[in-house]
Symmetry: C2
Subunit: 414 residues, 2 copies
């Protein structure tokens, strides 16, 4: 059912070297590193991964179908790439069922702003399309990759679930699960994992993920575990005991997760399920600039969801890379560079008012607005966003978490 | 805790070539093929695998400790090799706890006589030592390796469990489980699988099992699933929620399963569990001779547990390779060769009367007993054994199977 003209053999992730500049972006689920200081070249990534650009035509089509403007993440190219979203729209128009799937690797208590991006997008998609959503917490993955115990990554899955729930997902339509626990709750999960593992060779995961012979066998087998939720029969309590071959899966995620789902798109039809559709985001820049993703392990690289208003103010003022000029005089004369200015980039993510953003862009570029003023605007927005998140998270009790994470029927209209 | 002087690096299974004859026995969990027509060279296998011979001294020590004769499988060298059985005896003497673990890969409805061998041994060990026993049905393995559906191998797990239960295991001390189902019943199983998978690299399973880059990732990860039951914390409902670092595991199995447990013995101490002890059997010969294991897929290679008395009579008479001479006269003069005579070899497995076996050996070797007479003795014994098994299996209802396969406390004295 693909309409994206994918080549039969998508080139492996890690052997890409840009022909012209000989500088390669590294983009895989465990490492994102831009080859140049302007950050990852996303147009090249689309060609390299064989995905499709979220075109103006696609945006218009979405808006025509949902009869309202798209989320600013889509308008502004933050979700810039996709696979088969047109098929999802077709299904929606034809009132055929589909479901949303996204996830998180719980490696830290401290989630940062960047971690919210796919969940904000997913929440909007759930509201617009009114469909069920499954959210995978890959505590097994983080156990395998990090120097953390299984008990610890499992605990983090439940802690992080609180932040996810605080994004406002509809409890009647959302199922969140930890791999460690869900595998012991639903026999179909492990069966589908095995079915996928039977379809994928070591050679393939080596090519797709860059695994090596010294990697542990847990890592080598893991991709099947992230693939399984894209097969609707993994959730019989949601979608019924009968396999739903027509039930499409739609995955919003950061582009670094695409290798998992390229693999899944190869396997799903062999198991008589549709290829999952994808909507890919760019990476949320670190405070220091666009060359890398934010890191949970470097407190000054990110705004954390646990930061105080003062933390936020200090971090933005001290660490947010500025595109402004060295002196006020020079800035007034030549203007700032929005493309590299992290504060401006953050506003693109979190200031939803297009008009105001445009004013800031023009003001900053022309030198009217100084870096300090730009940062002040951002600080106010993020202080409110993070404080609001903290209030909402505070309201998420352990009982509420258990309810979201209990395998159960969901309410949805098909 | 090993006392067997194992080398640090056990040589890989598949690169063995006998220096003197340049003929290699292939022995791994999926293929057993003797290099010469006298069958597998078991003494060489002990050296190659780095295990220990079941010596006369060990047999005497067992008999002294249990205060009765050992099973004829041990007396006759059918269980010929071991790892750390002396440690198990020490634990028994010191009244320290241990448990038994064995298993079966359910790839066929038709179990044959050879499949009974480890279960007969295990039943005897359970009776003698009065310890809990866990039996793994690797329906996931058979799904991954064979052209069978997951539903089918899971069904076979329950069918084969009936044959296993018919061997007479104490229900109060025996837990049988299907991997597909148990993983969805007990969270500790998958956690221990992941812990083991984190300790083992692709290079290691490549060396131990001979996996290649074209093997599916399910096969590559599977060894951890067979290893996990050798870690007592996989069964908290049996051994308690607290990890029992002192709880040893004792595994009777055919020698082709040793690669799994060599790997397990490497990993277990890193997870703070003792290395499992092992007791290895030779292979049960095919009717056609000792060069290979019996095969469920060739009906004339084996006596099946579903065979009628007539089937048994016909198969032995027609297909059991004879060590007798071409004519009665020549046989009377020169005598038969017990070493290659399959009927005699089967009697070593299933005629427990040492004196009678010795009479038959002498009579056949001297030419007094003819092949037809030898076969008649065997036919009578096997007809009774198989008919008795069928009666016992008939009594194993689905409810009884469910009871053995329900995760539950077992009764045992520690």
């Amino acid at each position: 059912m693909s309409t994206t003209n994918e080549p039969d053999h998508v080139p492996p992730v890690n052997d890409y070297v840009d022909e012209a500049t000989n500088v390669d972006d590294i983009v895989n689920p465990w490492e994102v590193k831009a080859g140049s200081n302007t950050g990852v070249d996303y147009d090249k990534l689309i060609r390299r991964f064989g995905s499709s650009k979220v075109s103006d035509d696609l945006v218009k089509r979405i808006e025509r179908i949902i009869q309202k403007p798209v989320h600013h993440f889509i308008r502004r190219g933050i979700f810039f790439s996709h696979r088969d979203v047109d098929q999802i729209l077709l299904a929606y128009e034809q009132k055929k069922p589909f479901y949303l799937y996204t996830g998180r690797g719980p490696s830290s208590d401290a989630m940062h702003l960047g971690h919210l991006v796919p969940f904000i997008m997913t929440k909007w998609l759930q509201d617009v399309f009114d469909v069920p959503l499954v959210i995978q917490m890959t505590d097994d993955e983080k156990f395998l990759w990090k120097d953390l115990s299984a008990d610890e990554t499992n605990r983090l899955a439940y802690e992080n679930a609180k932040d996810i729930i605080a994004c406002g997902f509809d409890k009647d339509k959302t199922f969140i699960f930890s791999d460690f626990d869900f595998i012991a709750q639903c026999p179909k999960f492990y069966r589908n994992i095995c079915k996928i593992q039977k379809c994928v060779t070591y050679n393939q995961v080596k090519g797709i993920f860059g695994f090596g012979d010294s990697d542990c066998i847990g890592k080598i087998a893991f991709p099947a575990i992230q693939a399984a939720p894209a097969i609707s029969s993994t959730f019989p309590f949601i979608f019924g005991e009968k396999q739903k071959q027509e039930l499409a899966c739609f995955i919003p995620c950061a582009i670094d997760q695409d290798p998992y789902f390229r693999m899944t798109r190869d396997v799903a039809p062999r198991l008589n399920f549709p290829k999952p559709a994808l909507l890919h985001s760019v990476f949320f820049p670190a405070l220091q600039g666009s060359q890398s993703k934010m890191s949970s392990s470097d407190p000054n690289s990110s705004i954390f969801l646990t930061d105080t208003p003062k933390d936020i103010k200090n971090k933005i003022n001290k660490h947010a890379f500025s595109g402004g000029k060295a002196s006020i005089e020079e800035h007034r004369e030549k203007g700032g560079d929005c493309e590299v200015d992290v504060s401006y980039q953050y506003l693109r993510f979190f200031l939803d008012d297009d008009e105001k953003l445009q004013q800031i862009r023009e003001g900053y570029s022309s030198g009217q607005i100084l870096t300090g003023e730009l940062k002040k605007t951002l600080i106010e927005i993020l202080q409110k966003l993070v404080a609001d998140h903290q209030v909402k998270r505070q309201q998420v009790t352990d009982d509420i978490v258990r309810e979201y994470m209990r395998p159960r029927e969901l309410k949805f209209r098909y």
